[in-house]
């Protein structure tokens, strides 16, 4: 008798089964319910499917995706134009516009332009000649976008201190990169937009000049004029805003 036949013979013992009535009764005594209840209802089956969603193995999949996405975004923030991950960094910057109000978009446009200028400065300082051309292109594109976002800023209510701050930062960054001998080329659109910002501040100073002011207010205006002439537009705007609110 070979092993297969022997196994078959042993398996005949599978016929030994407990009586069905006893199985059912024993279960009822043990758990206190009828056997028929054991079959899961349709609702239970649906719930079971949802429970699977909480299974830790499945939960790891979205977690891994989130972590890898977060990691990629994090790494991309250190990338420079011409690098593999740079498009991710650009995409993150662009996505930023979706999450800010219209009033804050001019500021964000200038922030992005400043970022591009800073990248350009790093490339120039490290003599990364390969990255220079794409960095200049990125910068130019960002100035066009920033100018576009600055278009709605035509009067004092739209002009915020943050915009002025970013404008000043932009001028400083531009001077820095030009000092490194990098010619960034024509950024006329943004230059014009920034000039308009300065003109708004200047126009406001002139407007306040024509109004009747108290001695204290005159002092504040005088200080704002001095700040404006010194190129400290942010401080000048601060003074203007104080006077404007007092006037109202």
């Amino acid at each position: 008798m070979n092993e297969r036949n022997l196994t078959k013979k042993i398996q005949l013992l599978k016929q030994i089964q407990p009586e069905k009535d006893w199985v059912s009764l024993n279960k009822r005594q043990l758990l206190g319910f009828e056997v028929s209840e054991v079959k899961a209802s349709f609702t239970d089956q649906i719930l079971e499917v949802f429970k699977i969603g909480f299974n830790y193995k499945l939960a790891l999949v979205p977690l891994a995706i989130i972590l890898s996405l977060g990691g990629t975004i994090g790494l991309s923030q250190a990338s420079l134009p011409g690098d593999f991950l740079y498009p991710v960094r650009k995409l993150v910057d662009k996505t930023g516009y979706l999450f800010v109000s219209k009033e804050d978009q001019p500021k964000l446009g200038l922030e992005v332009a400043n970022k591009r200028l800073e990248e350009l400065t790093v490339i120039a300082q490290n003599n990364q000649s390969k990255n220079l051309a794409p960095a200049i292109n990125e910068f130019k594109q960002s100035t066009i976008e920033a100018a576009d976002k600055l278009k709605p800023v035509n009067s004092l209510p739209e002009l915020t201190k943050e915009i002025i701050k970013e404008t000043e930062k932009f001028r400083e960054n531009k001077e820095k990169i030009e000092a490194l001998g990098v010619v960034v080329g024509d950024t006329e659109e943004l230059t014009q937009a920034l000039s308009r910002i300065v003109e708004i501040v200047e126009g406001q100073i002139n407007d306040l000049n024509d109004r009747s002011l108290t001695d204290d207010q005159k002092q504040v205006l005088e200080q704002a004029k001095q700040d404006f002439e010194a190129g400290n537009y942010e401080k000048a705007l601060e003074g203007i805003l104080i006077l404007s609110y007092n006037q109202e």
Partner: protein
């Protein structure tokens, strides 16, 4: 029926026949096999309800066999017997079978039952788990807390004994 009952109910359905058969082949009595099976599930249900994550049962098949095995050991210790001969007998055959077929099958089943009872306790258990319940060598090793190699040896020797005994019955 709460969630615990539902989960345990599934475990019960999956294992009740196997535990009963395991007990029956060891004691050769329907009543005692039923008692042991009942007690096995009562103990398992208590454990299931009190189960905390730290001591969670990972393999319910193995766990149930362990309980049944301990109960069988206690049973034999109390009775001071190696084998119980019971008057009760569970009909094993399908009622739709013909008389001739029933008689043949009965003799076959009785033969194998009789030969199996001649094996030692461990050999019986290994044969039941491996060839009746389809447990892997690893699972059996885990239940008996023995190396897999030892289980293979026990299995091989048990099969040899069965083969010899069955051949001698035929001749």
């Amino acid at each position: 029926m709460d969630n615990l009952q539902k989960k345990f109910s599934k475990i019960y359905d999956q294992h009740v026949s196997r535990i009963y058969r395991f007990a029956y082949l060891r004691v050769n009595s329907k009543d005692i096999a039923q008692d042991i099976t009942s007690e096995t599930f009562i103990r398992a249900w208590d454990k299931f309800r009190a189960d905390n994550p730290k001591s969670k049962v990972k393999n319910w098949t193995g766990f149930l066999y362990q309980i049944a095995r301990n109960l069988l050991t206690d049973f034999y210790r109390e009775r001071g017997k190696v084998q119980i001969i019971s008057a009760s007998y569970t009909p094993l055959m399908d009622p739709s079978m013909g008389l001739e077929e029933k008689a043949f099958l009965s003799s076959e089943v009785e033969q194998i039952k009789s030969v199996l009872s001649q094996l030692g306790q461990e050999q019986q258990e290994v044969i039941i788990w491996r060839y009746l319940d389809g447990l892997s060598i690893r699972e059996i090793a885990s239940i008996l807390d023995k190396p897999e190699g030892t289980i293979r040896v026990i299995c091989h020797r048990a099969l040899e004994v069965l083969r010899k005994e069955l051949s001698s019955l035929r001749s």
